[in-house]
């Protein structure tokens, strides 16, 4: 083995046949990293509120801008996706749904729920804005 020990090496990514479960797996990571970036906006929002009316108005103006809304929409979906898939991970950790059929079923539920909840949150959000 090329790693200089007798440990097995994972084969290269290209030899795997594409499956939806692996798309969800990497998306969990990507949304996680994306949400960490989103915490910068959360921090700005809270610190601006603590700093005073002018700073807060500036933050609220950015959030309400086209760019801000686009980012917020992306983060809404990323949050619901990471939340849903995180619950899926917790179910696995508890020892359930580890077979292929249920892993795929969970994938469809998480993908569907994340989109549904994002749309729902935005319908409610725009209604009360």
């Amino acid at each position: 083995m090329a790693n200089g020990s007798s440990r097995p090496l994972s084969p290269h990514l290209q030899v795997y046949r594409f499956q939806w479960t692996m798309a969800l797996s990497i998306t969990h990571r990507i949304t996680g990293v994306g949400l960490v970036l989103g915490t910068l906006l959360l921090t700005w929002w809270l610190v601006a509120a603590a700093a005073g009316p002018e700073a807060f108005a500036k933050a609220q103006k950015f959030i309400g801008s086209g760019m801000g809304l686009l980012l917020l929409f992306g983060w809404t979906w990323a949050l619901f996706y990471h939340l849903g898939n995180g619950i899926r991970h917790l179910v696995w950790d508890a020892g359930y749904a580890l077979d292929l059929k249920n892993a795929e079923l969970g994938a469809y539920i998480v993908a569907g729920a994340s989109l549904g909840l994002t749309i729902l949150a935005w319908i409610v959000g725009l209604a009360v804005w």
């Binding site: 996680g32 990293v33 915490t39 809270l46 610190v47 991970h89 917790l90 949150a121």
Partner: protein
């Protein structure tokens, strides 16, 4: 059950410690699970709280946190647990993709420092508003 052999890469001492190749045993895994469980209700509350205060001006927003200690506490918990979860998750991502040792270490240190600094900023901001400065 485990006997030391050429195939077994663990020393007798590391087997006795039982902490595995990461040297921390299940501690990291457990922290990620613990924070994940906490974040399920906190995230749902946070989304509802944000939606309820969309477009709020400064007076309305600060009045919310001054008038509701529960909301302030939940917001502090959300920020604290989120950043603890974030630094743990980012650590794994860096460990998986950065293979030059000093870069890996520098990345992990930078991310952890940043996460806890942001957590402190968020918590301080909520406290400042809540105590009405």
């Amino acid at each position: 059950m485990t006997t030391h052999s050429a195939k077994n890469l663990r020393s007798p001492l590391s087997e006795a410690r039982g902490l595995g190749s990461s040297k921390y045993g299940t501690e990291h895994w457990w922290h990620q699970r613990l924070t994940a469980i906490a974040l399920v209700p906190l995230t749902i509350w946070f989304v509802i709280a944000v939606i309820s205060h969309l477009g709020a001006d400064h007076a309305q927003f600060t009045a919310w946190l001054k008038g509701s200690p529960l909301s302030a506490i939940l917001l502090i918990l959300t920020a604290g647990v989120t950043f603890h979860h974030a630094q743990g998750g980012m650590q794994v991502v860096i460990e998986d993709y950065v293979h030059v040792e000093w870069q890996k270490l520098a990345g992990i240190i930078a991310v952890k420092f940043l996460c806890y600094a942001l957590a402190a900023a968020c918590i301080f901001a909520v406290l400042k508003i809540s105590f009405g400065a």
